[in-house]
């Protein structure tokens, strides 16, 4: 049982503001991912929660109790570091036992817990080794083991997978997900990798320049990005954007036309994901610049002559346009996003009648 509340958390380093008025509630058993580019403040937030940094302003509450003045020790949290931070002079067993020893637990309980955790993580055979004798994946397991060994009320992960190679990263990601399903503990997980965020997170908190851009479930973040930043940061290849204005419920420019049931609105930006565009084999204003084959999917990068736009479009399985060929595109109207001043503008299609409904914001 543990919940976490951040109330107006702010952290300054000299003149730079790393965290700016962060409000966040993490429920019991939640897997909350802090996602954002480097320097967005996600690691600082995590370190404030751990007690490794002292916030400039704001409050951190665990289970409703303010822990601002508590040392990391008193907070009873566990943390997995990017570099694992295993103690090089201790064996795996001693590493696992260390937090329990520090907590002054009796010897037989320590032995039992270390046994449980090591079999859970399948590292029983490594117990006698030292960290330098382990592979990257094994070190990662030990680091996770050291975190879960004392049943902390809160798990903190700081980019735990970024030192692993791609294959191992996938494996460990699945393992962490399975572990969470099993233990049902509250997790705060920091990453800059959107795949990790979307696959692991129950709640994703997208951060940018010390602020929260959006809090939501993975589908929500992907399907209804709250800001232009979130829309551009999540998704690979990234969402396509184009500036323009809405007149009489229609956005029409760059050879594409999409119905948007909103009042006349100048100075907007529309966004469409590559998979929500259909490419047509007929001469249009776009020219194919590059074909990118990712194995499962193929994308065409198309350029607008004179328009300066470069978009990505997912290709159908059965057709590949040649480079330099002129093509036309049309979007899936219901998957078009509208942004104004960087924020999302909401609207609804009236799908029963197929007729544009009244504008809603």
């Amino acid at each position: 049982m543990s919940t976490l509340d951040l109330n107006g958390l702010t952290k300054d380093f000299g003149v730079t503001r790393a965290l700016d008025d962060i409000h966040l509630r993490v429920g019991d058993g939640d897997f909350c991912v802090l996602l954002g580019p480097s320097g967005c403040g996600k690691s600082t937030a995590l370190r404030c929660i751990a007690g490794l940094e002292q916030p400039t302003a704001g409050e951190i509450r665990m289970d409703g109790v303010c822990v601002n003045d508590q040392t990391p020790k008193e907070r009873g949290v566990a943390m997995v570091f990017q570099s694992y931070a295993l103690y090089p002079h201790m064996t795996v067993r001693e590493n696992l036992a260390f937090p329990l020893k520090m907590a002054g637990r009796p010897k037989d309980e320590i032995g039992a817990r270390v046994g449980e955790v090591s079999s859970l993580l399948r590292i029983d055979e490594l117990l006698g080794r030292r960290p330098r004798e382990l592979s990257g994946g094994q070190r990662q397991r030990v680091a996770i083991g050291r975190a879960i060994v004392r049943n902390p009320r809160l798990f903190l992960f700081d980019e735990p997978l970024s030192n692993l190679d791609a294959r191992l990263r996938n494996e460990m990601r699945l393992e962490i997900a399975a572990l969470h399903r099993r233990l049902q503990n509250t997790v705060i997980y920091v990453t800059h990798d959107q795949i990790e965020a979307l696959t692991l997170g129950k709640t994703i908190v997208v951060m940018n320049q010390g602020r929260i851009e959006q809090i939501g479930a993975p589908e929500e973040i992907y399907n209804r990005p709250a800001s232009r930043f979130v829309a551009g940061f999540v998704g690979m290849p990234p969402m396509n954007f184009a500036p323009g204005s809405i007149r009489s419920g229609v956005f029409e420019a760059y050879g594409l036309r999409t119905v948007i049931p909103l009042d006349d609105l100048p100075g907007v930006e529309i966004g469409i994901r590559p998979e929500d565009l259909r490419i047509r084999d007929e001469p249009g204003p776009w020219e194919v610049a590059l074909i990118e084959d990712l194995g499962s999917d193929r994308y065409a990068h198309i350029e607008l002559k004179d328009g300066g736009l470069r978009w990505a479009v997912r290709l159908p399985r059965d057709w590949t346009p040649g480079i330099g060929v002129r093509v036309a595109i049309n979007p899936d109207d219901r998957k078009v996003h509208v942004f104004r001043n960087g924020r999302r503008v909401d609207f609804r299609h009236d799908q029963d009648t197929g007729v544009p409904g009244s504008a809603g914001v």
Partner: protein
């Protein structure tokens, strides 16, 4: 040709470095008759007479014991205090960190002559002249800057995550230092200890002025004041010098790497 030149140069370097020591080493194995031969000869008979006199009549082991006691205690105290001090200086953002480091470094540059008067009077007032603590305390002050400097430069290189992880695992600062930093930085601590030991084993100036009673004098004082009424007893003196140097030479032979890394630690990285 190039190879020959290289070997010659290396031989020259070795001769320059160990030649003088080899001279007294050879002399120490001569006999009272052969040592006064003129012109002097190089090769000794391999006699142990001088060692016997040095140990029996001049009570050299007693001086060696004093040296070992003083240098050993200084090393333990300086490393203990130095480790404690180096941690916050290297790893925390406490106010005045840079000033403290500068003051500590400056203290290592004070000339002994400018300190000795005050120290002498203080020890006199405390009744510590001619006592072991009377020498160990100023030695600790003399070697602490070196110890702190080396230890801090070793501590700085340890990853930050290591101590953060320790803090999250429930360590206070005290436990972090003794449970994590000391074991992990053990090579660096060992290096600092060697240097402190060598320094205190060799120190002469303070020992000369504070220890006037032969019962508590250290080896360098014993050798400098080696009794000789009309002529210097070169044979016994050579044997004494070899005995005083032997522990240090052994340290250097086995720990050459560590000593070099310790002496240059901080110097290069600033």
């Amino acid at each position: 040709m190039k190879r020959v030149a290289q070997v010659l140069v290396i031989a020259l370097v070795v001769l320059f470095s160990v030649g003088p020591f080899a001279w007294i080493l050879l002399a120490s194995f001569k006999t009272p008759a052969s040592i006064v031969e003129r012109p002097p000869t190089f090769l000794p008979e391999g006699s142990l007479t001088f060692y016997q006199t040095a140990l029996d009549e001049h009570d050299l082991l007693h001086y060696a014991g004093n040296s070992a006691l003083v240098a050993g205690s200084t090393t333990v105290i300086a490393i203990l205090f130095g480790t404690l001090a180096a941690y916050p200086l290297a790893r925390t953002r406490i106010r005045g960190r840079r000033v403290l480091l500068a003051v500590i470094l400056a203290a290592s540059m004070f000339p002994q002559i400018a300190i000795v008067g005050g120290v002498y009077r203080l020890l006199l007032a405390m009744g510590l002249l001619n006592t072991y603590p009377g020498l160990i305390l100023p030695y600790t002050a003399l070697t602490l800057p070196l110890a702190i400097w080396i230890l801090a430069s070793f501590f700085k290189e340890l990853p930050v995550e290591l101590e953060e992880s320790a803090r999250v695992d429930g360590c206070g600062m005290w436990t972090t230092v003794w449970r994590i930093f000391v074991p992990v930085a053990a090579p660096g601590i060992f290096t600092a200890a060697i240097l402190v030991f060598i320094y205190s084993w060799n120190e002469f100036f303070f020992a000369l002025l504070i220890m006037t009673d032969p019962a508590v004098q250290t080896l360098p004082v014993g050798i400098a004041k080696f009794p000789g009424e009309y002529t210097v007893p070169w044979g016994e003196l050579s044997a004494a010098a070899v005995i005083a140097t032997l522990p240090i030479v052994i340290l250097v032979l086995f720990l050459q790497r560590r000593i070099i890394s310790g002496l240059t630690a901080g110097a290069v990285k600033g």
